[in-house]
């Protein structure tokens, strides 16, 4: 199952560095404490812009190579200007990209060469929730479905096992499937 010597596989994942990091953080658990940050600013109407520049971890501050911006808005059917994806769609993007990063990492760890990985994410939502029409309807998704189409040097079962493993180690999968304490306050 575990293939530690797979020299021919190149998925662009530096697996040796990850193995090293795992060992280092096992030995020094305090360094494993990370904090992720995002700064969001209202633009106009339902449009906002989130900027992500820095985070902390390994006992120090870090900056991304450059600042990243995420534009969010609502579509024209909601009488908005549609200057960006909706926030729930950005959650779907986060889930898919987290799982996909996991697929690449696990595949590399198992010596599986990937040729193409495509995910389609669908999530249903009953607008009666956020519009306050029906108190029994939740605001969020009723369910999320992710469908992977993967071309790789492995059997269907092995690919399924890689996809399963990526869910087991995914931060965003955990975030959307388990409750998290959230505190919102005025500065």
């Amino acid at each position: 199952m575990t293939q530690t010597d797979a020299p021919t596989v190149d998925n662009g994942v530096n697996i040796d560095a990850l193995r090293g990091a795992r060992q280092a953080l096992t030995d020094a658990p305090a360094a494993a404490q990370f904090q992720w940050r995002a700064r969001c600013e209202w633009v106009r109407g339902t449009n906002s812009r989130t900027t992500i520049t820095d985070f902390s971890g390994l006992g120090q501050e870090h900056a991304h190579r450059q600042a990243y911006c995420i534009e969010a808005d609502h579509p024209e059917v909601f009488a908005s200007d549609d200057n960006g994806a909706t926030p729930p769609e950005i959650v779907l993007a986060a889930l898919a990209s987290c799982l996909t990063a996991g697929v690449a990492t696990v595949a590399t760890h198992r010596g599986v060469q990937l040729r193409s990985v495509k995910a389609t994410v669908e999530a249903g939502m009953d607008l009666q929730g956020i519009l306050g029409i029906d108190g029994d309807v939740r605001n969020g998704f009723d369910a999320i479905k992710v469908t992977y189409d993967i071309d790789a040097d492995a059997s269907r079962d092995d690919i399924a096992a890689i996809v399963a493993q990526s869910q087991k180690r995914s931060a965003v999968f955990d975030i959307v499937t388990n409750p998290t304490l959230v505190q919102v306050e005025l500065a």
């Binding site: 990850l18 180690r169 999968f173």
Partner: protein
């Protein structure tokens, strides 16, 4: 009192160790807080049977001789089996002796018990892997009107509040067995399912443990797996030993009418929150089971056993109806925590533990010289926590004890003539392997 070795606990593991020491001519005592096999008499539910078939439950010099080798012993039958073992080789067991403390001294250990103090060079902790239930902290957040009990407290359905629904938390052997029994007694049962290991009771007309034994899986060594820490944390299997040899996976529970929900992850007021990741865990358990069955099929083919065993039969996929992610606790009267067990050694010198209060050991040989543990999951091999595993582990450790005692004797003599030696076996090769696994956790 001075004796070379003190074994704490006269269950199957302690008796197996005693047998090896008797054979090696090493003087020792076995201290037991209650009667022989105390926890088997007092800490098991009424219907409990061993997970392993009786033919398999051999201890050194003592095998099953009853009329149903393919059956599964009850707790009482296990006690009788161990009493027969005791009669057979008359180990130096002292019952009704409770150990209060084991302390390092300048010259070995002091074992302080209510019946006296023993000075010894070696202590073997054989008190089992299930001394204490492991219950998540959120138990404190349950409404107080809900009764809570653990798998160690559970005895029979009639013990529970007769009204209301029951939530069983945990879907390993204890959880699935208790959920099934409560549902059969006419109760409405919901089971919260986290990571789990699905296994068929039998495959190709042989018991699954026959296969695990045959393909060598039970003999995989602790220093040969990628991540022993992780392997030791594995949940126990979804299995039950019954006369019908039936499966007890989530499909079987579902057919009985038990409702499956995701792992219990939070309690907010009167609402219990369940993880939405159940489908992922179920798919993972199915994949792992399919991999094991495939390994068995390959074993059959490569050993030409097709004529002796049944045909291959692919497992049915687990079907769990879309589970709710929250439960209204108002409907429930009782929560049964079947969330695992942990060994505890409240009497043991604090220096023996790591920061998570686990005894630091390499294959049962503790970091603290002269201390040994026995009967823990995957301690030396995958079978280490089965009755069928205690014999070999005890044999390995007895060999180490013998070398250690020889070393202690030489050191004592050397204190006079200037010779010092050290026991070097077994090595620490397991440590080097721990780095290997980043993400390979299926």
């Amino acid at each position: 009192m001075r004796v070379p070795v003190v074994i704490v606990g006269a269950g199957p593991a302690g008796l197996a160790m005693s047998h090896h020491l008797v054979t090696a001519g090493i003087d020792h005592v076995v201290l037991e807080r209650g009667d022989l096999a105390h926890s088997w008499r007092t800490e098991r539910w009424d219907s409990l049977r061993l997970l392993t078939p009786s033919w398999m439950n051999a201890l050194p010099g003592h095998g099953y001789r009853g009329g149903d080798p393919h059956g599964f012993m009850t707790a009482q039958e296990t006690v009788a089996f161990l009493e027969a073992y005791r009669r057979r080789f008359e180990p130096p067991v002292l019952t009704g002796v409770t150990v209060a403390a084991v302390r390092r001294t300048a010259d070995g250990f002091a074992v302080i018990a209510d019946a006296g103090t023993w000075q010894c060079d070696v202590v073997v902790a054989a008190t089992g892997a299930s001394s204490e239930p492991r219950v998540p902290a959120l138990r404190a957040e349950l409404p107080t009107r809900i009764d809570q009990l653990t798998a160690l407290d559970y005895r029979r359905p009639a013990q529970l509040d007769p009204d209301g629904e029951i939530l069983v938390v945990g879907a390993s052997a204890s959880g699935v067995q208790i959920a099934s029994e409560l549902q059969r007694s006419g109760r409405a049962v919901t089971i919260a399912v986290g990571e789990h290991v699905r296994l068929p009771r039998s495959y190709r007309e042989r018991d699954v443990y026959w296969w695990l034994d045959a393909i060598g899986q039970l003999d995989e060594r602790y220093d040969e797996v990628d991540d022993i820490d992780r392997a030791r944390r594995h949940a126990s299997v979804q299995l039950v030993g019954t006369n019908e040899h039936s499966d007890l996976d989530l499909n079987a529970l579902g057919a009985q009418g038990v409702r499956c929900v995701g792992r219990l992850v939070g309690i907010s007021g009167r609402t219990a929150q369940c993880s939405g990741a159940l489908a992922s865990l179920v798919a993972n358990a199915d994949l792992k089971q399919a991999r094991l069955l495939h390994r068995i099929d390959e074993f059959v083919t490569s050993n030409g056993l097709e004529g002796e065993v049944g045909p291959p039969r692919p497992a049915q996929p687990t079907v769990v109806p879309a589970p709710p992610t929250s439960l209204d606790l108002a409907a429930f009267s009782t929560v049964v925590w079947a969330t695992g067990y942990r060994p505890t050694y409240p009497w043991l010198d604090a220096a023996a533990f790591d920061h998570r209060h686990r005894v630091v050991h390499d294959g049962g040989v503790a970091r603290m010289p002269g201390l040994y543990v026995l009967g823990l999951p995957f301690m030396r091999r995958r079978r280490s926590n089965l009755i069928a595993g205690f014999g070999r582990d005890a044999g390995d450790l007895a060999a180490h004890v013998r070398a250690y005692l020889g070393d202690v004797a030489r050191t004592r003599a050397g204190a006079r003539i200037g010779v010092v030696s050290r026991v070097e076996w077994p090595s620490e090769q397991a440590v080097a392997r721990a780095a290997n696994d980043v993400l390979d956790r299926t």
